[in-house]
Amino acid sequence: MNLSKNEFVSLCKKSLRGKGHHWGVCEDLSDALLALAINQFPVQNILLEVLNNKNSKIDRILTIIDTQVYKRFDQINGHFYDPILILGLISVDRDFSEPPLEISLENDKFIITNELIIGDRFYSKKKVNTISFSKNINSKLAKQKTITRISIDDTTLEKIETWSNMTYAPATEESRQLGAGSGGSDND
């Protein structure tokens, strides 16, 4: 199915919430996933990976944007799970007017410029211990366009929606009568 950006963000937020992530964490991760999605990274797989990972491991990477270490240090060390998300998080956190930034997830290099994230879209490491940042970009920036629709196959969508569905209250007659203030006829 081809989702609009709004639908994709909504799907991410709900599924991450269904997984038990805190609301604010869902917001940032969904933004990061959208940034990757419009740059044609295989976000359906990335989202599934995140949903299969332990929540506390994911929470840790948000420190990178909260402290903006990528602006202040050349290198950081630690245990960074689902590191591809870091590219999305930093892409959203930066101002588009800032100069390009090269991010090395250990040996794999990516460049963030404007809203573009340039690099190996099939990067799939689940954990890195070192991340480097550099504003000295030597390589020529590849021409790349962002997309406006996010394609997710039906099987994967169904798996993701299993998590989203956990955020909905079961349909009961009591809820139907009281929750939305029903009553009265609409044939007037």
Binding site: S4, N6, Q68, V92, G179, A180, G181, S182, D186
Partner: protein
């Protein structure tokens, strides 16, 4: 006059009303439409840019089902309403989200649709949430008939006579929309993709355009129904009746979370209106022509109030008070000395001391009415086109954060959140067609588990409790590392610190909350009037009632219709 306010943000000598006063639910629930309402912005643009309206297709059968297409041609692009009329039974007609059939369904198409487009849309639009639209579509909508008025008017016209004006006035519309989806919903184009188009820069312009074009379709469908009922004797509805009929709207709880979930946008709306009011209150000696116009609107607003009926006890009480207050206002305005320096400031101050909130807010809208050249530019700043959530400033020190929280959320920190009545309600989404609902957490089993983050007051209090235990020279980033559960409310607080009107300064989960107050605030910015609650969670309203139809809209009449010039007779 305008030279005083060259800078759009400059206010003059009288400041804006404080957020602590404006952002209370009872006041938000007393807002009225104004010249900064979105449908008014749209009509001004259509007329000033001379958009051309045309009916392209009207393929409606004898049983009033079929397809119609209407197009607005702009200087450099076109938008088309693709309408599908359906025959449904009374048992299937429901205004709730859980409905699956409607009298008519619509989409706003970006351009002029081909036959292939119409066929594709015919397979999807009638199914609404169960169908899919594409990037070629901007909105998705549906409407139900006002059965009683529809049958009556069709019957009259088919017999060759005009309907009774009193009957028309009682309802005010022939169809009411029950949803107008935009912004990427169900496959439609994202707002971020069209927000740079000048016609969509103000908020909800595509949605307003959809409803305005629906109004034209409804009129054609109505006359078609009369024609097929009696092809030899039927007559057209007289133009004066056509203009009296707006498009109704039935709105439930879905609209309330929107306001809480978009604090920056809410701030921009209220900020524009408050800036407009402050600009006019700052005029030391307005020219007599503006005073005359104001007096004229004061008089005409009585006709609007006369036509406002409700059977709901909440609104009956408010309307009774409004009518009493309006009589006081009329008397005061009549005797008021407009040579008093800052006359509108003086008038407003009197109203604040003397009248209830319904009448105060009506006065605010009436004060704005004559001053288009002074306030209309504010509509440019009412949108929020950001695609991503607001960034958290993790470097902010806890001491500073606490101080600002205590300043902006004083109301929330005073509430005893352990008291059940302050914590009684929970906002949640039902799996039944994802309908937003509001339930009693202590009585409805298990709903608290599904609670949405729509209680900023309570969440701020919880966050403040944890944050107070930290050293003031630590950073918010350090706090969030230990307390990711407060991430959403930390972000929200930082938005509110810089945007005074971003937060509703009331408890949204109290046993005493009236959800329709939230609905009314949003609907007033759409340009709705004649708010008619059906319960504390549902409200019906009217849009475009009295407005010129697309065929007669021009620069002279595009803004001078919200207050009727005479009492209907």
């Amino acid at each position: 006059m305008q030279n005083i306010f060259d800078n759009k943000l400059s206010l003059g000598e009288v400041g804006r009303r404080p957020a602590e006063e404006v952002m209370r639910l009872s006041r938000l629930g007393s807002f009225h439409q104004s010249r900064l309402s979105f449908l008014r912005i749209l009509l001004r643009r259509i007329s000033s840019e001379k958009w051309k309206f045309q009916r392209q297709v009207f393929d409606i059968s004898y049983d009033c089902s079929g397809t119609a297409v209407y197009t607005y041609q702009l200087p450099n692009r076109a938008y088309s309403l693709v309408a599908f009329a359906h025959k449904i039974s009374n048992e299937d007609r429901s205004d709730r989200v859980i409905a699956t059939k409607w009298d008519a369904t619509f989409t706003l198409f970006d351009g002029i649709p081909s036959k292939g487009d119409i066929e594709r849309l015919n397979n999807n639009v009638p199914n609404q949430e169960a169908g899919r639209v594409t990037e070629k579509e901007i909105t998705l909508s549906r409407a139900n008939k006002s059965v009683r008025l529809w049958d009556y008017v069709v019957d009259c016209l088919s017999k060759g006579k005009q309907p009774d004006i009193q009957e028309i006035e009682k309802v005010g519309y022939m169809m009411r929309t029950t949803a107008v989806y935009g912004s990427g919903k169900f496959g439609a184009i994202d707002y971020s993709e069209i927000s740079e188009r000048s016609e969509f820069k103000a908020p909800f312009q595509a949605e307003m355009l959809t409803v305005y074009m629906i109004r034209a379709f409804v009129m054609d469908l109505l006359q078609h129904a009369a024609k097929v009922k009696n092809p030899t004797k039927w007559v057209k509805l007289e133009p004066r009746f056509r203009e009296m009929l707006g498009v109704g709207n039935s709105t439930g709880l879905g609209m309330a979370p929107f306001l809480i979930n978009h604090p920056q946008l809410l701030n921009n709306w209220i900020s524009a209106k408050e800036t407009a009011l402050a600009r006019i209150r700052s005029l030391k000696a307005p020219k007599p022509k503006y005073i005359d116009l104001f007096k004229n609107y004061i008089e005409r607003s009585n006709y609007l109030i006369d036509g406002w009926h409700s059977e709901h006890e909440l609104q009956i009480v408010k309307l009774k008070k409004l009518r009493l207050d309006k009589a006081l206002l009329d008397e005061y305005v009549e005797k008021f000395n407009y040579k008093t320096p800052y006359p509108f400031d003086s008038l407003y101050n009197w109203a604040e001391e003397t009248l209830g909130e319904e009448a105060q807010e009506l006065l605010v809208s009436l004060i704005l009415e004559p001053f288009g050249e002074l306030v209309d530019d504010l509509s440019d700043g009412m949108s929020d086109i950001k695609q991503f959530s607001s960034k958290i400033k993790g470097s902010m020190l806890i001491g500073e954060f606490l101080k600002k929280t205590e300043q902006h959320y004083a109301y929330a920190l005073k509430i005893n959140w352990k008291h059940s009545k302050n914590n009684e309600l929970a906002w949640y989404i039902s799996e039944e067609k994802l309908e937003p609902r509001l339930g009693n957490r202590f009585k409805e089993n298990g709903i608290a588990f599904y609670e949405q983050p729509l209680q900023p007051g309570r969440d701020v209090a919880r966050m403040h409790c944890d944050l107070s235990k930290w050293e003031h020279n630590k950073s918010i980033a350090e706090f969030l590392m230990k307390h990711p559960e407060h991430r959403h409310i930390i972000r929200r607080c930082q938005i509110v610190f810089n945007n005074p009107y971003a937060e509703i300064k009331d408890n949204t989960i109290s046993s005493e909350v009236i959800p329709i107050d939230l609905l009314r605030a949003k609907l007033s910015f759409f340009g709705a009037f004649h708010f008619d609650p059906r319960s504390d969670r549902w409200v019906r309203i009217n849009m475009f009632k009295g407005a010129p139809l697309p065929q007669t809209l021009n620069e002279e009449n595009c803004d001078n219709w919200t207050y009727p010039t005479q009492k209907p007779n």
